[in-house]
């Protein structure tokens, strides 16, 4: 046994470095294609398809454990939570009544001015799968896919604002690129004065950065930015973030402005998929 082992190592040795060279070159080619070719997404989707069961099984087992835990959690806690939720529901209902009237009025005014789109569109609630990824990857996985007519480029929201967009669709799962990823860009405008800008993700600081804003532009800390609807990716009027830092360094050509995302990017479990414009 031992003799065969040693012999096989020595015969493989010379061939091994050749093999490694090929594998490394192939890996680099894959990396370049993955980033540079748009058509490569379909290949990625096809390859990822068999992995969905893994993600579902891990997510399912974690969910079971959590359910087991809540089954034993104290009655008092649940009762207290119930009361709080009821109060919150009442409050939200009161606000909603005002919104319904406003939306009707808004749609009426838009119809009068012959604007092309309405606020209402088809939506679907999706849940995040309970799986982790590398901490430097700004993506999450949803439990809805092509079966539910999810499409690539679809905007995703949570209860507080814009979360990101779908970048990869499988039959039963889909992958969301969060807005704090450097590859994500989103057209925004300032609520206070309507200044338009493009917010690009900055994963290193975990927030968004406004691109190419001149130093004379009127933007203050605390300003809220909404989606402007330009660029046809995200519908208009959803909160993106509030300004957390403005610096006008004379050494730089443009002002450096950071936004704190409104959406709870790392804690929301349920998200809203919106069918927007021509895909609706």
């Amino acid at each position: 046994m031992r003799i065969t082992t040693i012999r096989s190592i020595f015969t493989k040795q010379s061939q091994s470095s050749f093999q490694v060279f090929f594998l490394i070159v192939f890996a680099i080619v894959l990396m370049v294609m993955d980033r540079r070719l748009n058509q490569f997404v379909t290949i990625r989707e096809a390859l990822s398809f068999p992995l969905a069961p893994f993600q579902y099984s891990v997510s399912w087992s974690v969910k079971q454990i959590n359910q087991f835990k809540t089954a034993f959690s104290a009655y008092d806690y649940l009762a207290k939570e119930n009361i709080e939720l009821k109060a919150e529901r009442l409050l939200l209902h009161a606000q909603l009544q005002r919104l319904i009237a406003l939306e009707a009025e808004n749609n009426y005014l838009k119809a009068l001015s012959q604007a092309s789109h309405h606020i209402q569109s088809k939506t679907l609630i999706a849940e995040l799968l309970n799986v982790d990824s590398e901490p430097f990857v700004n993506q999450v996985i949803l439990d809805k896919g092509a079966r539910d007519h999810v499409y690539s480029g679809q905007p995703v929201f949570d209860a507080y604002g814009v979360m990101g967009q779908i970048i990869q669709v499988g039959p039963i799962t889909s992958r969301v690129l969060l807005i704090n990823d450097p590859r994500s860009g989103i057209a925004v405008h300032n609520v206070r004065n309507g200044t338009r800008a493009v917010a690009v993700g900055d994963s290193y600081l975990n927030n968004l950065k406004l691109m190419y804003v001149t130093k004379t532009t009127d933007i203050k800390v605390g300003d809220l930015f909404l989606t402007s609807g330009l660029g046809d990716r995200y519908p208009e009027g959803y909160p993106v973030g509030t300004v957390s830092n403005v610096s006008k360094d004379p050494a730089h050509q443009f002002a450096t402005i950071y936004l704190q995302p409104s959406a709870h990017l790392d804690s929301s479990r349920q998200v809203l998929l919106v069918w927007y414009q021509k895909h609706a």
């Binding site: 046994m1 082992t5 096989s8 190592i9 493989k12 091994s16 470095s17 093999q19 490694v20 594998l23 490394i24 192939f26 890996a27 680099i28 080619v29 894959l30 990396m31 294609m33 993955d34 980033r35 490569f40 990625r44 390859l47 990822s48 992995l51 893994f54 993600q55 099984s57 891990v58 974690v62 309970n130 799986v131 982790d132 990824s133 590398e134 901490p135 430097f136 990857v137 700004n138 993506q139 990869q168 992958r175 990823d181 450097p182 994963s203 290193y204 600081l205 975990n206 790392d266």
Partner: protein, 157 residues
């Protein structure tokens, strides 16, 4: 059970451990499970598991994680290549000695990933990133003993 099925089971188990959700404070502490399992098999059975297996495992890892396709494949392949070169020597070492060597290899792996992420402009936003190699080494002796039992149980040789 054929050998390759048993090896596949351990690699899949390592992949599941990688995507298993953990409390937020352990975010940067997750050991490189897949690489540790690959290292074990390469050290004990270099004629069965080698750079090819490492490359495929890396590709599946990339698909699961959403990192650039080929990133982990490249890193795993490079590390496993050096491990396979040193496999005879590593097999002779005691567990602490092995641990020191593994630490260097895992740091090398993290360095490769760090470089690729740097090229892509998506660097990890914390220096805690490097802690993962320490936890990997802490887990190495336990993983080694567990895997050895597994190997004996299924009579893989």
């Amino acid at each position: 059970m054929p050998n390759w099925v048993a090896i596949l089971i351990t690699i899949v188990a390592a992949l599941l451990l990688t995507i298993l959700p953990m409390p937020a404070w352990t975010e940067w502490l997750r050991p490189a499970w897949v690489l540790l399992v690959l290292i074990y098999w390469t050290v004990t059975m270099p004629y069965l598991v080698g750079v090819g297996t490492a490359w495929l495992a890396g590709l599946v890892f990339d698909l699961l994680m959403g990192t650039v396709l080929g990133e982990h494949a490249l890193a795993f392949t490079l590390v496993i290549y050096f491990i396979s070169r040193l496999s005879l020597r590593l097999r002779m070492y005691s567990l602490p000695q092995q641990g020191m060597n593994i630490l260097i290899f895992i740091l090398f792996y993290q360095f490769i990933i760090y470089c690729i992420q740097g090229f892509l402009g998506e660097l990890p936003n914390s220096h805690l990133y490097w802690l993962s190699s320490i936890t990997s080494v802490v887990f190495w002796p336990w993983l080694f003993l567990l895997m050895r039992d597994f190997q004996r149980w299924f009579k893989i040789s």
